[in-house]
Structure formats: C-alpha cells, structure tokens
C-alpha cells in the first residue's frame, strides 16, 4: 500500500506481517517471533548478505513498534489508514496538542536517538514516529568485519613503509612494519562495515601475502641464498661479493672451500617484526662452478695436478 504525504510517496509497512504474527498477538508472541526471525536474519549469521541485513532492519523496526505499547497503540490506530493523509495529519496535530497537555501520547518519545542513523528505518516509521533521538531500547549490532589481502614483495616486507589502498570505497593508509610474515593478519579496529542501530563498526583484517623472491628464501627471520664461486677462489680462497636485501657486501672465502659450504652472515637476515634493530641471519650456500671449455694447456696442467694428488 502506498500513501502520499507532503508530496512524498511512502509505503505502508505491515509490522505484524513482517514479524509474522497476528494483530492480537501478545507481547510474548511478538518477542518470540522477533527472536526467531532475528536468529535467522542476524548479520552475524548471514555474512556478506545485504538482503538479510535489510530484512534484519525491517524486523528490528517492527519489533521497535510492536513491543512498545504506546507505539503499537498508535500504529494500530492510524497505521492501516496511512493512505488517508488528511486524517493522519489531524491526528498528528492532535497529538502535538496532547503532548503539551498530558494526553495518552504525551509520554511518547518522539525524540529517540543520538548515535542512530535514522535513515536505516523506513520513511513510514520516520513519518509516523519521528526520527529516533535519545535512548531507545533497540539492540545495537556490530558491523561486519572485512577481510582483505595485501601482496608484498620480500623487499617491501623488509622495510617499514606506508601503503594506501581502497576498500569498499574507503581509502585507508597503513604503516606496514618491517618483518611482517607471510600469512600474518593485522586488525584495523573500526575500519569494517558500519554498525546497525548505532552499533560499532566492524574491523578490517588485512592478511599479508609475501611473494616468493628469486634470490632469497625466508625461514622465520633468517634468509637463505646461493652464491656461485669459481674453482680457483674455492681452492685458494679470496673475496666475493654477496647480495643482501640491504645491498652488496664483501665476504672472505677460505682456501679449500668445499662445494655446498654454508656461510652465516650474522644480522644480515630479515628484520624481526616490531623489534627495531634486531635482524635474523643470512645463510649463503656456496656453489663451486667448474670451468668449461678447457684449452689443451689447461687440460695438461690439470692432469699434472691430478698426478700430484695420486
């Protein structure tokens, strides 16, 4: 049923129908019906379901009216005849007069609400009962939690930095501390969905996914890498340059270093999460590269070397 009031078309809301109860339903019946429907359509029970959220708001609105004896009386008296705008207008004017002279509607709270967004109730409710200000018995519900994934390179995860991104139309800027782990989740309080009936907003959970790096493997706070060295450096020792996430460093190789030798570079690993100045270690596995394309002279010299060893 649609009614016109001040040029606006508004739909009559059959609150009894919303709760699925009879017009003569007792307060206990209404409470039971509300609980049953609230369990079914509660946003917690219907994640990411806008239709359920909408339905839940309708149920709340119906409950708000039908569990308040004064609101219910008023609704029963005029609600059905909403289309008779003139009659309702008179009733409203009468009510204003009555309010100041202590009528049955005198105690009716036209002013609910504070932190309630009146836009969440129907126009019908707003016109009939006014916007809610002040207290109100309505249950507040926390908004939905949002989950997001943020991909980082190993290099990005190595340093504390800021990132800006947009979730559900909201731009969020966060500081990502150095040392975050793959799969780690952080919570941004109040950055999730809006609450219902003035309830608190949900939280935003961000899960970090750290892409594999071609040069380094991360295990906890330690890093592992591989470095090729030539045969002669392996045999005679020398200096090599090793890549770290912080730049290149010079490392001494001992004479007679075997293939697969692991060297530990203390403090050159990954930063420890939220522990400034603390770092894991870098383990470099040395892979000895054997020369190829030997000349005749090289072959002869290596044979001589070989003979010396046997």
């Amino acid at each position: 049923m649609l009614s016109e009031n001040n040029g606006q078309i508004m739909a009559f809301v059959d609150y009894y129908n919303v709760l699925g109860v009879d017009k003569n339903a007792s307060a206990e019946d209404i409470k039971k019906a509300y609980r049953k429907l609230a369990r079914k359509y509660h946003p917690d029970m219907n994640p990411n379901d806008d239709a359920a959220k909408q339905k839940f708001q309708e149920i709340n609105e119906a409950n708000e009216v039908l569990t308040d004896p004064e609101k219910r009386q008023k609704y029963d008296q005029y609600g059905e005849h909403w289309k008779h705008g003139e009659a309702y207008e008179q009733a409203q004017q009468q009510q204003h007069r009555d309010t100041s002279s202590g009528s049955p509607f005198g105690g009716f709270d036209f002013g609910y609400s504070g932190n309630y967004d009146s836009g969440e109730f129907s126009d019908f409710f707003e016109q009939m009962f006014g916007s809610r200000r002040g207290g109100g018995r309505q249950t507040k519900f926390r908004g939905d939690d949002y989950n997001a994934t943020l991909r980082l390179s190993l290099q990005e995860a190595y340093t504390t930095h800021q990132q800006t991104f947009t979730i559900n139309g909201k731009t969020i800027r966060i500081t990502i501390p150095a040392g975050v782990e793959d799969g780690q989740k952080i919570r941004l309080k109040g950055q999730g969905g809006e609450g219902i009936n003035g309830g608190p907003a949900g939280d935003l959970y961000i899960q970090f996914v750290i892409d594999p790096d071609p040069g380094f493997q991360r295990v906890g706070n330690d890093l592992y890498s591989e470095k090729n060295i030539d045969l002669y450096t392996a045999l005679l020792g020398g200096d090599i340059v090793v890549d770290t996430l912080d730049g290149k460093i010079k490392v001494k190789v001992k004479p007679e270093t075997q293939n697969g030798t692991k060297i530990r570079l203390k403090g050159k690993g990954f930063p420890v999460y939220k522990k400034e100045g603390a770092f894991g270690d870098l383990y470099v596995t040395l892979a000895v590269s054997l020369p190829t394309g030997l000349s005749e002279k090289e072959k002869e010299l290596i044979k001589q070397l070989s003979n010396l060893r046997t």
Binding site: R35, R39, D44, P47, N48, D203
Partner: protein, 92 residues
Amino acid sequence: MKTTWIRAADVCKSHQIDIQFIRELSANGLIELFVEEEEEFLEEEQLKPLEQFAAWHYELELNVQGIEVARHLLTKIEYLQTEIARLHQRLR
C-alpha cells in the same frame, strides 16, 4: 609478539557478562580461559569472539551448543564464500 592478558572478572563487569557463561564457552572450546594464581584470564584476542558469542547468547538467546553449531557453520560459509570468490576470479 606481546600478549595482553585481561582479567575475566573485569570483562564480565564491563560487558555485563556472567562469568559462568565464559566458563561454559571455555569448557566447550569456544574461547580460551587461563587460570593463574586462582584468577581467570583471557587473551586480548579472545575478546572479539567473546563479544560476538555474548551478543548471540543474550540477544538471540542461543545457548552454548547453538553458538558452537553457528560458529561451525559460519566458518564453513566463510570458506565457501572465499572459494566462490577465488573461482570467480579464475573464470575472469
């Protein structure tokens, strides 16, 4: 990472929750409650699920068994929604 412990009694007071309800949740493995020197404590990260369970209990009149079932099904829904989103992504 640093863990913050909160006295269960303080949570009960601030959230108007019956301690027995928290103990029941703990007995059913829905939250973790620790006892130290005869005092019950919760980890800070347990607060959020506790608040949610309390809302289900006091506002929707779910008992602890109902909460357990609801949580289990919601975990499944969440997994399936993620899976659907992933498959949608693959189809694009």
